[in-house]
Amino acid sequence: MGLNMKKMINLKPSRTSAIIIGLLPFVLLLVIYMVSSDARLAINPSDKMLPAFSQMGDAIYRMAFEPSRRTGDYVFWQDTLSSLGRLGAGVLIAALLGLVIGLLTGALPVVNASFSPLLTVISLVPPLALLPILFIVVGLGEASKITLIAIGITPFIARDIQRRTQEIPSEQLVKAQTLGASTSQILIRVLLPQIMPKLIDAIRLSLGSGWLFLIAAEAISSTDGLGYRIFLVRRYLAMDIILPYVAWITLLAFLIDFLLARLNRRLFPWSLEGGA
């Protein structure tokens, strides 16, 4: 019985063929784009909708390696730095808040009873609709962008951490108590360290929304940032800038996710395998 006769469900591609067929859709997409772009540009050479790769390359080269005439900044890098700074700050705040809220509600039934309903409701409120109130409270500066990101993802992280805390086998809590541990000792020594890798996982999961809120915040009011640039140049349909920016954001998102996964493996080697 050769490999070919196996049922589809039992067919497993080899490593190399997996890589090749994995790349195929990307190549296909690129080709489709190039053909469509050529077709449009043939009709209207100053069409901006689907710029050729060379146009995008030029545009990004200019933004990344030629100082802006107006400010002297390298716009592309300046945008990247600003956005990453905001994202980092927002996510960090959300992570801290989420950790504290999630840990306490997950570990202490009394705290859980008093805050879980509120947390559930808050997690349902669409943050974008509340922008005006946000502005009253924190003003319009960097704070508003960072706060929007933080508000947007804290409920998710808090609820995830809460669930993860509750998933820690109760046997461990009982065991700790038989060793004489107090509530604070259990929180700090038993639960907190075990939640840390889950926190990094939760951050990874919430980064997608983080980018979303970042872009939304930058679209509202800003002087630089990746989202700012995309919404600004949208005004004159500069797809030769928008498309590379979107690709760059995607790459950054991928890199951050990858680095966090690596970090997790590095810092918490014990967390890879199941229970104990």
Binding site: V174, T178, L179, F268, W270, G275, A276
Partner: protein, 285 residues
């Protein structure tokens, strides 16, 4: 179940000792809502006994241990520790080793045991510093050498075999000097070869630290050879239409070494029955 009610009177053969028993239970019952799990359990245990508990799955052995531990409360009767009502939460006088999840996965072997020492301190975090830490470290290392983990001090639990994990859990429990050690099928997940070593370890620690041990096992042979006293949990009455109408109790309370061969076989048959029938069977359970 073919035993007659008469044979079950063995239960009441508990001798009334002059010293206060470390654990005394009178007419203990436990039910969850409508389901009666345990009923009319009467026990009296002296310090230093090694009691093994056997019985069918789900008959309430773990529940009984949990009551001693303080995480479940009897719904009827009274359970006393040293003659006083048992505390309603776990404390460091009663150590426990579960079948699983008994060690902290985020600490190395040594840290697991040092943490146990730290928890004895009434500080916020239980971290030890300076001299205190040095002393704890040395004590922990000694204890770990005693359980045969001297060579694995810096490994994480996921790098240990099942047997090594249970050794660690036991070391952790014992270093807190509990008076009572509860073992709930501690070797249930281990390879037979390793179990023999673990038996030796437990007996050794029992002697050295003068512990009172309650150990649940599903292997009668193990229970029989290990303890000084064997409890068999079973239902005294059984209603086939409503399996949870009656709870289990202790049907045999036997000093080990005094068991007649036929009784051993009878209990064994009850725990691991074999029946060869040739005729088609009808619906059951």
């Amino acid at each position: 179940m073919s035993q007659s009610i008469q044979t079950k009177t063995a239960v009441s053969n508990v001798k009334k000792a002059a010293v206060t028993p470390i654990i005394q239970g009178t007419n203990i019952g436990k039910s969850y809502g409508q389901d009666i799990i345990l009923e009319r359990v009467n026990v009296s245990v002296q310090e230093g006994e090694f009691i093994t508990l056997v019985g069918a799955s789900g008959c309430g052995k773990s529940t009984f241990l949990k009551m001693i531990l303080g995480i479940e409360t009897a719904t009827e009767g009274e359970l006393l520790l040293d003659g006083k009502p048992i505390p309603n939460e776990p404390g460091s006088d009663r150590g426990i080793v579960f079948q699983q999840y008994s060690v902290f996965p985020h600490m190395t072997v040594l840290e697991n045991v040092i943490a146990a020492k730290g928890f004895q301190k009434s500080s916020i975090t239980g971290y030890l510093f300076g001299k205190e830490k040095k002393v704890a470290k040395q004590e922990a290392a000694e204890m770990l050498a005693q359980v045969g983990l001297g060579h694995a001090l810096n490994r994480y639990p996921h790098e240990l075999s099942g047997g090594m994990k249970q050794r660690l859990a036991i070391a952790q429990a014992v270093i807190c000097k509990p008076r009572i050690l509860l073992l709930d099928e501690p070797f249930g997940a281990l390879d037979p070869g390793i179990r023999a070593d673990m038996h030796a370890l437990v007996l050794d620690l029992w002697h050295k630290h003068k512990l009172t041990i309650f150990m649940v096992t599903h292997d009668l042979k193990e229970g029989f050879y290990l303890g000084t006293r064997l409890w068999v949990f079973d239902k005294l009455r059984h209603d086939p239409h409503s399996p949870n109408a009656y709870g289990a109790s202790i049907t045999y309370d036997l000093p080990v070494g005094h068991m007649p061969e036929p009784l051993y076989d009878e209990i064994d048959q009850q725990l691991r029955p074999i029946t060869k029938m040739e005729q088609p069977i009808s619906s059951m359970e």
